[in-house]
Amino acid sequence: MWLNEDDPIHKRDLFFSKPFVNSPGTLGFAPDPHKMPVIANLGAFITHPISRKPRQPASNRACIPFPGGFLLHTGLPNPGITRTISRYKHAWAGASLPIIVHLLVEDPGSLAEMIRKLERLENVMAVELGLPPNCDPDALRSLMDAAIGELPIIPCVSPDQIPVLRETLLALNPTAVHLVEPRGVLPDEAGNLITGRLCGPGIFPTMLHASRELLDVSFPLIVNGGMNSKLQADTFLNAGVTALGLGSVLWQLKQAFLA
């Protein structure tokens, strides 16, 4: 083993030329400068969540507004890792910014398999782990173990996962942690209850609160925050956050603060 013991293989430094990224699922599988001029303002591009096997849209897919934001439930459809790589590896290699591949993680075995397929792809900077909603410390530990390889690993946690996973994250000391939107439940038009991510400016105080629970840690923090103004972005950056994940603002027609 030619590595220093104090320098575990999954610990790499991430460098963002600009302190913004898109949150996973907001800009599709690969950057497209024509469709999304905003990528000129991003330090890295995060892909749509990708799973081992293809996933189809959820039958109860929906986008439900609430005061301050909207709930998004899609089932995270994607063509699966193999087809995604063959379709997008050239777009990733030729992109003007580094790519972070977001993996929808089910179990350690299939995760390791996915990671192996991503190693040595040009311009892939890191891999993000989209953890299952009820991921416990043991599961996180075995997933992080399975993910060890050539690429820096960024686990994604939502605010409700912090109390459970905080200590484990401190012990694992990953390259970075990405704090993503909380989940919520809303009735759809027919009254059926739909679970999904909450997006929009209304989640800002929740994300700012959650980020402060992790700021005393040693690893860099990427935070999605319902941001739609420079003031909000500066609040996070002044609090010590390394990069900001933009979500709903990327789908809006007014993106003044990014210009």
Partner: protein
Amino acid sequence: MLTKLLEINQIGEERAGVLDIPEKYWPQPGQYMPCQHDSDPAAPLVTNLFRVIGTGDQLYLGPMPENWLPGDSIHILPPQGNGFSIPAAARRVGLLPFGVSPLRLLPLLKTTLMQNAALVLFWDAGQNHDILHRLPTVVEVAPTATLAENLDWLDYLAIDIALGDLPQLNSLLSIPELPFDGQLLIRTDMPCRGIGDCGVCAVKTTKGWQHACTDGPVFQLKELHHVAQ
């Protein structure tokens, strides 16, 4: 692009509005125009407006959100998606607004009448409905239930339907193979307009899953009949 909302009209139960938009950016019937109010921080979603019938030579878009008022500033993008295209040979055209006002389908009137086609609006509104008074007399209005008897008569059918209502449409058009051409405007949330491949607008077709935002919102009826989810 930032523009102004010039005027609001109540047509039946829906609100239609006139935006100050150059004619080259006017959406075709069935296409959508992403719009967003300039000063509503609590409403982070884009509103996709469709061309609807109005009066005179102006472009009317709908349905307008309740809190948008004349004079408001509205951000817009150029029209997106595939609109309706009535076959030039169609001589017997039907319009089927499925459980919804026919506002989005009626902009097809002009083309239909220009190619001298007969036109039936399959619609269950009360006889004194506001919209009926706006229709030329050549337009026949028939109850939705009569569609089943008229399937042989039609050359082309244009449908406006919510994604969730597709199973009901399958019951209405319960024959295995349709003897006419048709298109459907699928109404579904389209929050990312295709930028994010989010999949909220996914529609199952004979070609596999497609996205209403980029592959639609108008689809070929034959590609969805008995397939769509």
